[in-house]
């Protein structure tokens, strides 16, 4: 009787995403209403898994035990992808559950274990396919795992709809080949089973031939045997005693063994001729004598199948039933240039698709071999440029100068509070970084915009200061809470000295210093502060480097790229504070009541 219908469902043992998807694709082609995979058993995890049924994504439940999967799904088929190490235990357990058909895929299952499973299965009246098999297929109804191969191969072999040929073979690889032969020489496969290449399969060639004999939908039986074993003799006997009345086309492979000088183990464990009786020639002769249709060579097998089908069953008519079209796999379609869509993300600074990650199109290994500095990496990833050494050194100097400014400033303070509240390092860093803005550390870009505008407008420092005063706007980059003319900022001094030595242009700095000269006349602490100085010097740096076009310079200032130097530099200090607090095992920080004014 047929093993499969359009309603048959299976439990898959082992996480076999590809095989499951192939089964569901077959289901869709056949127009099944219900997916054939009911559940997956995965002892190490019970996460759900998803697969496509047509174009719809569906959930496939995953259970930790076969018993649970069986109870929850009422599936009839158990497909076991467990390895040869655990195939016995897992199949033995499944035999005790209400599955009707069980398939063992693993190769190299010990023979005694395979025989025990076969004996138990027979005793319980179940059908065990394998071990060492790809499984088999019910055309138009149900596909075991990877049987039948690709979608294109299955369509070419017309497996999406039932024919009237029952096929059984030992070899899984050859079953696929034969599906194609039968699909193109007859009205197609009804059911095709590969019993597996081992010496002791769970069900024999004879078992399946007899099933086809009893199935009224089977009109022709095709069998591909193999040297070794005596199964074919029992089939010959069944033919002789008219237990098989349907036409049987058969071929036993391994006729080559006679010319081999010594015993050769073929690819299949069961393919070993122990005696002349088990040779392919002897078995082909016995089958021929008993009334089977046996070709002279495999080369004529397809033609003979066609001939017998036409003579005994009827003409091979052209059939018009097409498979339900399957949506193309996106990545396959991309590979074949069949689809296109705009990308969600565009990136121009780095590429990790090759063996070596590229920074601005240069392999990281090259950068390392050339002894690239942190400044070079920043130049590559932020500005997409290779910049001269004085420029990258200046960037690094900025980082060093902005790295920390003690525990009392906003960023460090916040990080200390977060770290002491038990937050992890990254959270503490973020909490510190979040204070960077218009009042803390974030004035560099604003200052740059102001200096740039003034220079572009050809303003004098005096005209600029007057204009700002008129607008009643504080000049960004000017003024410090503590530092003053009498108590100058050493950081600013260092930056100025470097720039004057290396930069080709320092007109922005000169302008800023001109402004400072005016403002400090009013108040000693209205000096050019570190933000203002960095801003002016980066503008000068951009002007000094011919690598930057005017457009690029304007765009960088507009984007606000200079604050990045403060954010990156200060991260070093903030991380230090977060680590420091953990190291000192500081408790939760609570601000004192006496330091709060309650209104």
């Amino acid at each position: 009787m047929p093993l499969f219908t359009k309603e048959t469902t299976a439990v898959i043992y082992g996480m076999q995403a590809a095989a499951i998807q192939r089964m569901l694709d077959f289901d869709w082609m056949c127009g099944r209403k219900v997916p054939s995979v009911a559940a997956v058993v995965n002892p190490s995890s019970s996460e759900i898994t998803t697969a496509f049924f047509g174009s719809k994504q569906i959930l496939i439940p995953v259970y930790k035990t076969t018993q649970e999967a069986c109870e929850k799904t009422k599936a009839e088929v158990f497909i076991n992808f467990a390895s040869f190490r655990s195939a016995f235990e897992t199949t033995d357990e499944a035999l005790d559950l209400p599955f009707k058909t069980l398939v063992v895929i693993a190769e190299s299952v010990p023979e005694r274990q395979a025989r025990q499973l076969a004996a138990k299965s027979k005793k319980l009246g179940k059908v065990l396919i394998g071990p060492a098999t790809v499984g088999g297929i019910g055309a138009g109804t149900f596909k075991i795992g990877n049987s039948g191969g690709t979608v294109e191969a299955m369509i070419a072999a017309k497996l999406h709809r039932p024919g009237s040929v029952g096929f059984v073979s030992k070899s899984g690889g050859m079953s696929n080949e034969m599906f194609n032969v039968i699909g193109n020489t007859t009205d197609g496969i009804l059911e095709g089973i590969a019993i597996g290449g081992d010496a002791f399969p769970g069900t024999s060639l004879l078992d399946h031939v007899m099933r086809y004999e009893q199935d009224p939908a089977v009109k022709l039986i095709v069998m591909l045997g193999e040297l070794g074993g005596t199964d074919e003799y029992r089939i010959a006997e069944a033919l002789t005693y008219k237990k098989i009345k349907k036409p049987l086309v058969a071929w036993v492979t391994g006729t080559c063994a006679t010319v081999f000088p010594t015993e050769v183990q073929f690819g299949h464990a069961g393919a070993k001729s122990g005696s002349d009786k088990e040779s392919a020639q002897a078995k082909n002769d016995a089958l021929r004598k008993a009334g089977a249709f046996v070709p002279k060579s495999y080369d004529d097998f397809g033609e003979l199948v066609h001939k017998v089908f036409v003579e005994k069953v009827g003409p091979v008519t052209k059939d018009s039933s097409a498979p339900q079209p399957l949506p193309a796999e996106y990545k396959d379609a991309v590979a074949k240039n069949k689809v296109r869509r705009p990308a969600s993300i565009i990136s121009s600074i780095s590429d990790d698709r090759g063996e070596d990650v590229l920074y601005n199109k240069v392999p990281l290994t090259n950068l390392l071999n050339e002894g690239a500095s942190v400044g070079d990496i920043i130049a590559a990833l932020w500005f997409k440029k290779k910049l001269p050494k004085y420029a990258t050194e200046f960037m690094e100097m900025t980082l060093k100068i902005t790295a920390d400014h003690g525990p009392a400033v906003s960023g460090a303070h916040n990080a200390i509070v977060a770290s002491r509240a038990g937050k992890d390092l990254v959270s503490s860093l973020c909490s510190g970084l979040l204070t960077i803005g218009p009042r803390f550390g974030g004035a560099i870009d604003d200052a740059a915009r102001v200096w740039q505008a003034a220079i572009k407008a050809n303003q004098t420092p005096k005209g600029f200061v007057d204009q700002m005063k008129e607008k009643n706007v504080l000049i960004p980059g000017i003024g410090h809470r503590i530092k003053s003319v009498a108590n100058p900022d050493a950081r600013v001094a260092a930056l100025k000295a470097y720039a004057l030595k290396h930069f080709k242009s320092h007109k922005h700095l000169d302008f800023a210093l001109g402004v400072e000269a005016l403002t400090t006349q009013k108040k000693g602490n209205l000096i050019l502060n570190v933000d203002g100085c960095i801003a002016a010097l980066f503008l000068d740096l951009f002007d000094s480097c011919p690598e930057f076009t005017q457009e690029e310079k304007d765009q960088l200032i507009e984007i606000g790229v200079l604050n990045a130097f403060f954010a990156l530099g200060r991260s070093i200090g903030i991380i230090g504070h977060a680590i420091d607090q953990k190291r000192l095992q500081q408790p939760l920080y609570r601000h004192g009541w006496d330091d709060v004014v309650y209104l």
Partner: protein, 406 residues
């Protein structure tokens, strides 16, 4: 693989360990240090000895390869005489590498027992008249079938008159049967065994183990190549590759001077290509049997193809069949990539020798794989004919043979 012959010494060792009986046997090879061997087996000096090649073949008595009732010196010179020399048993010739020395046990009774596996039953074969003529007395052998799932069989042996002897033999056979089952033997024959002071002593034995059970077995033995089939360097290399990978790689060189070489995917398909060559009358020209399957990676197919192509160039092959069925899940383009790399390396030699290549394959990504083969033909100038699943699998065999005939 599956059922593999082991040396008599190893079979007896497994039995002795499992039955808890002492093992009196010494395995001698060309490497043996006799002083050490005698130190470890003091009985070699005190007892009369038997010596015989331990090479997984039988009928040693009938082939003049058995030394009986000998002294240590005689055994030594027997070893010297046989080891490293050729011996012929039946139609097969090979080099003797190992000799087994055991105590000589004078005896009258020779029992025969063998255990073998059939699909649904284990079969115990017993005869009270064992020894070298067992095949001539086969009608006296008693067949006892024990279903695979049956735990303890009932044993009623025929032909032993003495009641206590009968009990001893039955108990011994049941014990050995248990060992046979628990240690994944696929065949075990004790011929003969005898009783000495109420204890069974095994004189000769043949054993095959199911090597797939190695992962759970108590034994750890070496499986010698079948006698007369010592592996060549290339075969040995492919075997070692096969053992390292989850895929399957097999190579047997049949005729190094053969004109037809094959690189075939799949255990089933490879046999059919070989069959077709034989069926069409070219068995003698078939240089190799082999297969690759189970989705090997391109490095593995490269090494495999390189090995075959080197042999082919050396042997003067004329035709190469790169065949296979329609794969279920093996990526054809990927496996071909390794083969193509090997072909490119040997292209000048193949071209010079006028080699013609025929390709037939189907399965995942086959169009790309076949395209790569066609491009190789254009690039190297080697004539390569390429076919897909629309062409019958073995059609390239007659095409190639026609070429060979002309």
């Amino acid at each position: 693989m599956a059922q593999r012959s082991i040396r008599e010494f190893d079979g007896k060792k497994i039995l002795a360990v499992a039955l808890g009986t002492p093992l009196k046997g010494a395995l001698v090879s060309s490497q043996t240090d006799w002083t050490l061997l005698v130190k470890e087996n003091p009985w070699l000096k005190t007892e009369k000895l038997v010596a015989k090649p331990d090479m997984c073949f039988g009928k040693r008595g009938k082939n003049n390869l058995l030394l009986l009732d000998a002294t240590l010196e005689q055994a030594k010179s027997f070893c010297k005489e046989k080891i490293g020399k050729s011996a012929t048993v039946g139609k097969v010739s090979g080099t003797v590498t190992h000799v087994l020395i055991e105590p000589f046990v004078p005896h009258k009774t020779e029992y025969y027992v063998a255990f073998k596996c059939e699909q649904a039953v284990d079969v115990i074969l017993f005869s009270p008249e064992g020894g070298i003529d067992i095949e001539e007395n086969w009608e006296k052998v008693q067949h006892i079938e024990v279903p695979v799932l049956e735990e303890t069989p009932k044993l009623k042996l025929n032909g032993i008159k003495d009641a206590s002897e009968k009990k001893t033999v039955e108990e011994f056979i049941l014990n050995v049967f248990q060992v046979f089952r628990e240690n994944d033997f696929s065949f075990l024959e004790l011929n003969p065994f005898t009783l000495v002071k109420g204890e069974a002593v095994i004189l000769g034995s043949v054993a095959r183990l199911d090597d797939t059970a190695g992962f759970k077995a108590k034994w750890d033995v070496e499986f010698p190549a079948p006698f007369g089939r010592e592996l060549s360097k290339e075969e040995q290399y492919i075997k070692s590759l096969d053992e390292k990978t989850g895929a399957s790689l097999k190579l047997t060189v049949l005729n190094p001077k053969g004109k037809v070489w094959t690189l075939v995917a799949g255990g089933g398909a490879s046999v059919i290509y070989a069959d077709t060559l034989v069926d069409l009358g070219f068995g003698k020209e078939m240089a190799n049997y082999g297969e690759y399957s189970g989705n090997p990676n391109d490095e593995e197919t490269y090494q495999y193809a390189k090995t075959v192509l080197d042999l082919m160039v050396k042997g003067g092959g004329k035709v190469l069949l790169i065949g296979g069925g329609i794969a279920n899940f093996t990526d054809v383009a990927k496996t071909f990539k390794g083969i193509i790399q090997a072909l490119e390396e040997q292209a000048p030699a193949l071209k010079k020798a006028g080699v013609k290549i025929y390709v037939r394959r189907g399965g995942p990504n086959y169009e790309k794989g076949l395209d790569l083969m066609r491009q190789l033909g254009v690039k190297t100038g080697i004539p390569i004919q390429v076919f897909g699943p629309e062409t019958h699998m073995t059609k390239i065999v007659p095409m190639a043979l026609k070429e060979l005939k002309s």
